[in-house]
Amino acid sequence: DAMVIQNPRYQVTQFGKPVTLSCSQTLNHNVMYWYQQKSSQAPKLLFHYYDKDFNNEADTPDNFQSRRPNTSFCFLDIRSPGLGDAAMYLCATSREGRGASSYEQYFGPGTRLTVT
């Protein structure tokens, strides 16, 4: 049974055209993460939610925004995608105490974004 679901699996957007990626989870985990992963590189954390508290990484571009309307869903909005934003976007969840990284993360299958 899928626990972290990402839609769509593949997304093609035009340069500068806003795009939204979605993630949902059935684990009832309080923390949700968005990572960007470029080819042959490590996943890079963009931001995470601890419950409804949004935490942005210092080097995440302003072009990336996120929404978490409830425990189960989280969205990644890219306001004006550039060619450099083409990547795999991974959503992950964990049960976590604030400010700690004590538990494993559960990842979705990812959304591969192409920018034309």
Partner: protein, 110 residues
């Protein structure tokens, strides 16, 4: 600079052989985790080892942790073609989020 770095970057072995990957990190940690990623897919958690543990096993996987050397190793015994994947270590200084190393790309040849 990376908090965690895997070594080697790429490893190619024959089916049935053992594969060893290493991870070095820079700061004190609460725990260290290893993940596997098949091509074009999400990451799958393999093992978590806490800073007060020295060795942990899970099936064909053995992970060691040496906090004095700030290093960990992942051993896959009796490798199979299905083990072909990228393997990442993830470390987090206390109170901070995980940072993934650049990964080791393992190819197991039939």
């Amino acid at each position: 600079s990376q908090q965690g770095e895997e070594d080697p970057q790429a490893l190619s072995i024959q089916e049935g052989e053992n594969a060893t990957m290493n991870c070095s990190y820079k700061t004190s940690i609460n725990n260290l985790q290893w993940y596997r990623q098949n091509s074009g897919r999400g990451l799958v958690h393999l093992i978590l080892i806490r800073s007060n543990e020295r060795e942990k096993h899970s099936g064909r996987l053995r992970v060691t942790l040496d906090t004095s050397k700030k290093s960990s190793s992942l051993l896959i015994t009796a490798s199979r073609a299905a083990d072909t994947a990228s393997y990442f270590c993830a470390t987090a200084p206390p109170g901070q989020n995980f940072v993934f190393g650049p990964g080791t790309r393992l190819s197991v040849l039939p």
